[in-house]
Point group: C2
Chain length 660, copies 2
């Protein structure tokens, strides 16, 4: 056992065991004391490099390339750029069979959903099919998820539709609107790919789960309300998205309600919801809900075709052009008055679709225990959207509902996306005329069925139970989206989440510690009844970094703890307070304001003849304390490794002074 | 010694010592295990109340009122509203003598500085004197600092001048400009008083010391450059504040330089700087620098008076109206196109002057060991500015330079402000004509001397030494103010500071712990050479709360730690990894995203047959873990109070399994 008392040790000369000072000789009991080390010395550049690496390369992407021959490095590089090379060589017939089955299954979902979601974005229905052809092909080469089913999704479609149609009318200015949609898609892709390339993927982490639950539910409610247009057969509907104008639009056009549409709509809605319910109860019967949209489209189209001469009340899609995606790069524009709108829409839809795609990819990767690389996925989704914007596609990403079907149908690799794209290709080339009589009401019913599952009230209830503040964030984004506007609702929720972090730092928790008898454990006296205060000491802990935002508060708070403790002692006739022990274990960082507050605190405690002792500062904090010379000013017995050692050493010193 | 293994204990039934389960009987060594308690139960309302109290009433302002009679409470209430009642009754002649001396000393500074600073804000010089009369009187009744010398200050004057003159010309639109200045002052006061009333004082904490050092230095450079107009005798000067336009304005008007002005200006500047230097070297000689501005004004005025017929090159103030502050409440306006500018200017100057006033107050209070109540000071400064705006005053606060002189001159109470105000009163009533020939160059020299001390390069160097990021913040605000604009520079610096907090949360430090032999201490293996890894265990600690912003990162990072550790073990042929111990001592908070990440982490580790064990979650974290049922899912041996107990208990269990 060493009794070293040199508490500030340099790693350059550790454990050199300087002898204890004179006072220690007088101590009654010999206390084992461990010195507090500085972290290994690093230059500012090394530290910056490490910090940089932590922020941008937390996954250490070059790890696999180390100790490899050049040839292997080439192969690994190719594989990491195009994940298809990792599994392509082992691809066999058995895998293909699974992928064909699942690919055809999601195609039967993707075709009706594609048409429906394009309508949600106020785009021609055919754009939805185009978007289900090119992007899945690109993703199958670049993407690292095996189960992601790529195509248009409801939330991004809604957001694009709502943001663009606020400035440009999709009916009166349809060409400009289409141009804006493709340009926004290009910027969405550019933004997504840049996040991946610049390794700024953590940006999407700022959309917390609570925010997303609220946002998705709010958007789902808006989408559902919008479908009232199709389900009720209303012709003149508001272009706005908020709750109040939509509801007033529904009831002010009561004369346009058509009972044939309502009847047929409700019937199919009932079928779709029932099949959805069956599949949810028995995941093995996933094909029932997967097949029902296409089946409903076929049946309803037939029905409308049969009664086409009897009634004009039911509106239908009409002519859709045959043929493959026409190129649209000439429709992108990078100047003009609407450029800012296109960029803004691109960024908002880009971040939302990225968040959905990555979350879906991670969910299924985790179920099958493989990794989805966030930054790589961002690049894949980004490139897919950039390419999409040049081939008449609008924003696409991995859809949750279709990916779930894909997973349940037994998809093994991204080939299922290729199969799906092929099915869409056949549709585009040959089957388009068949959709002429497809009624709009069935599209509304399909959208309604898809988005109704996005209102996750159980998750919201769990938030309420576990974390009230998260629930509050969730409600902010729900009502923000519903009542204000989609991007603003999102911004409010992100703001509230960030505010929570700041609030936590501004007013951190402070605790009083006591000793659990017979041990060296010190814990909160409020929480552990066994923990008892030690006469003469006040042991405090702060659960937060000490920053400019809280340094003044903490200084005042600690002084208040001291005053309260002295009042308590006075009341109980206890022994006088001599020492404040400040356990810094949970102080994960400090800045110059914090250091100054410590200096000031020590000075003010000294005026009241109280000693301040610091315990176990973490590495980075210790370094700054050392550089700012506060350690020297605290003196020899101002720094300990554990609270136990501090208490033992200081009490033995006091005893030595009392009984020399 | 109890060997209880019920680790999740409810405070409702603590220490009931349930018996150890069957496996424990097989353990070879008996390990003492302490249970992790939940914090005492509180309803959501109680928690909200506590949180609310922490945020808004950290100083527990009603503490003094408890257990008092109604009469005492009345007196205490009166005293807390008007601090003058706390010391007024004990005021005596001896105190008065000190206050008269110091009051007259600061008056000799306040009169020339008042005139100068008003010119800095592009206001008539007389407004500077008005502002040195009413606000000090109000502060002496409401303020809790004994040493604060109240009046116009350089930074706030500069900011007001720069922000207002960007939209309104002070020479062509002088009446509108004056109206705007008073209206801004009103809003500054309203903002300050509201911060105090709503107990939002922590808002000013977001201006970190590093930000302020950079901002003050940048503003001081701008102010100094502006004085080149007066010192060189330039007539046509730019209204802009940034470095580049000012310098180009100086050199493009070289024909206007007047050698008489330059000569006289430099001479007086030399005198003022020398006296300042003497006083700084010997604080006892404070009166030399305190008297020199007034002396210089007198001498230079005499000089100009004597040579008034020989040269017109030296410009002077001219006619100043005699008499007390005229009322100006009719000049405030709360509508019109410039209202937004007035509010913005009010908020920026309000927060800056508030920060300066409170920092100055705290500095001197700490030297004499008394408390300055932040929220009360805010109200005092706020009311003083609101009253000022109705009596022809512009923004005022506690000046650092004059408060230092006040302190050194032996001020004992706020009466020194009353004495100063009386001296200003006499000046306003009788001495105004004497300033007719006071040259503008002397005002420039006085301002230059005052602001040159604000460039605190030593403090900036210390920031560089101790905390590179703080230095970066400092430079951001310095160059932002100098090159962009005053409010934008400030906004950039605050943004950078907040970004630092977010970055710290987004990419927290993770550490691997090892045991210091012969102890129960676990510390970072990188930092403590004595700390050695324990075979079979990987002990990790995270120095940060676990939030949405970092939960994904942490999950990936911990899995990477695990992979690296397994690779290391493979290399060294060590014993296989069995258990990940996650020390949560420094995890000060968790949200639902964090909890989900823990669930997911446990699931993924389990697939690799690794056990996850949590150690010592803090109170609020424990509560949420409990509510989210993760504790149950971790199982009996998934939660320990200390790392040492976890290691001891788990290894003895393993031994028991190997050798039954």
């Amino acid at each position: 056992m060493g009794h070293g008392t040199n508490r500030v040790e340099d790693m350059a000369s550790p454990n050199n065991g300087t002898t204890a000072p004179a006072t220690a000789n007088a101590r009654e009991t010999i206390v084992e004391i461990h010195s507090v080390c500085l972290p290994p010395k690093k230059t500012a550049l090394q530290k910056l490099k490490k910090r940089f690496g932590d922020v941008f390369f937390p996954d250490d992407p070059l790890e696999r390339f180390r100790n490899q021959t050049w040839r292997n490095r080439m192969i690994l590089g190719l594989q990491s750029l195009f994940p298809i090379f990792t599994w392509g060589s082992q691809y066999d017939l058995k895998l293909l069979r699974s992928d064909v089955v699942s690919g055809l299954t999601i195609a039967s979902l993707a075709i009706p959903q594609g048409i429906s979601y394009a309508k949600l974005a106020n785009l021609p229905p055919i754009v939805g099919l185009y978007s289900s052809f090119v992007p899945p092909l690109i993703y199958s080469v670049l993407g690292s998820s095996k189960h992601l089913a790529v195509g248009p999704v409801s939330i991004a479609s809604l957001v694009m539709g709502s943001m663009l149609s606020e400035s440009v009318s999709p009916t009166q200015d349809s060409i400009l609107y289409l141009k804006l949609a493709f340009t926004s898609t290009f910027f969405a892709g550019l933004f997504q790919a840049s996040l991946g390339l610049l390794r700024l993927g953590f940006v999407i982490d700022f959309l917390s789960k609570a925010t997303l639950i609220g946002f998705t539910a709010g958007a789902a409610v808006i989408v559902s309300l919008q479908q009232l247009k199709g389900l009720l057969g209303i012709v003149h509907f508001t272009g706005k998205m908020q709750f109040i104008p939509v509801m007033s639009s529904v009831f002010s056009h009561r004369s346009e309600w058509s009972w044939e549409t309502i009847l047929m709509g409700l019937a199919f809605l009932a079928i779709l919801l029932t099949t959805r319910h069956i599949s949810m109860r028995k995941p093995k019967l996933f094909w029932i809900s997967a097949a029902s949209p296409l089946a409903s489209v076929v049946i309803s189209t037939l029905l409308v075709f049969l009664i086409r001469n009897k009634t004009q009340a039911i509106s239908f899609i009409g002519h859709l052009p045959k043929g493959l995606n026409p190129p649209s790069s000439n429709m992108l524009y990078f100047s003009g008055s609407h450029l800012a709108l296109a960029i803004k829409t691109g960024i908002v839809t880009g971040i939302l679709s990225l968040t959905e795609g990555i979350a879906v990819g991670r969910t299924f990767a985790s179920l099958k225990n493989y990794q989805v690389n966030g930054n790589k996925e961002m690049m894949a989704i980004g490139f897919m959207n950039m390419a999409g914007s040049c081939t008449s596609c609008y924003v696409t990403t991995g859809s949750f509902s279709r990916s779930a079907v894909n997973y349940n149908a037994g998809a093994k690799t991204a080939v299922s996306n290729i199969v799906m794209a092929s099915a869409v290709l056949v549709t585009l080339l040959f089957l388009m005329p068949l959709f002429y009589y497809t009624p709009n009401l069935i599209l509304a019913a399909i959208i309604l069925t898809a988005v109704i599952g996005l209102i996750d009230y159980q998750a919201a209830y769990k938030l309420w139970k576990v974390d009230k503040f998260d629930f509050f964030t969730c409600m902010c984004s729900f009502f923000g989206v519903l009542l204000v506007s989609v991007p603003l609702g999102l911004a409010i929720a992100v703001g509230v989440s960030v505010l929570k972090i700041l609030l936590h730092v501004t007013r951190p928790n402070t605790l009083e510690f006591g000793n659990i008898q017979g041990t060296q454990i010190y814990q909160s006296v409020k929480r552990y009844r066994e923990a008892s205060r030690i006469p003469g000491f006040l042991i405090l802990a702060v659960e937060s970094p000490i920053y400019f935002a809280n340094s003044t508060y903490l200084q005042e708070r600690i002084l208040r703890w001291t005053r309260e403790e002295e009042a308590r002692i006075k009341e109980n006739n206890g022994s006088t307070l001599k020492c404040i022990i400040f356990d810094m274990t949970a102080v994960s960082s400090i800045d110059t304001n914090g250091i100054e507050a410590l200096f000031e605190l020590r000075r003010r405690l000294e005026k009241q003849s109280l000693q301040l002792v610091l315990v176990n500062p973490v590495g980075s904090v210790m370094e700054k304390l050392h550089k700012s010379k506060i350690i020297e000013s605290l003196g020899l017995s101002g720094l300990y490794l554990t609270v136990g050692e501090a208490v033992a050493d200081l009490s033995s010193t006091w005893k030595a002074h009392v009984q020399p």
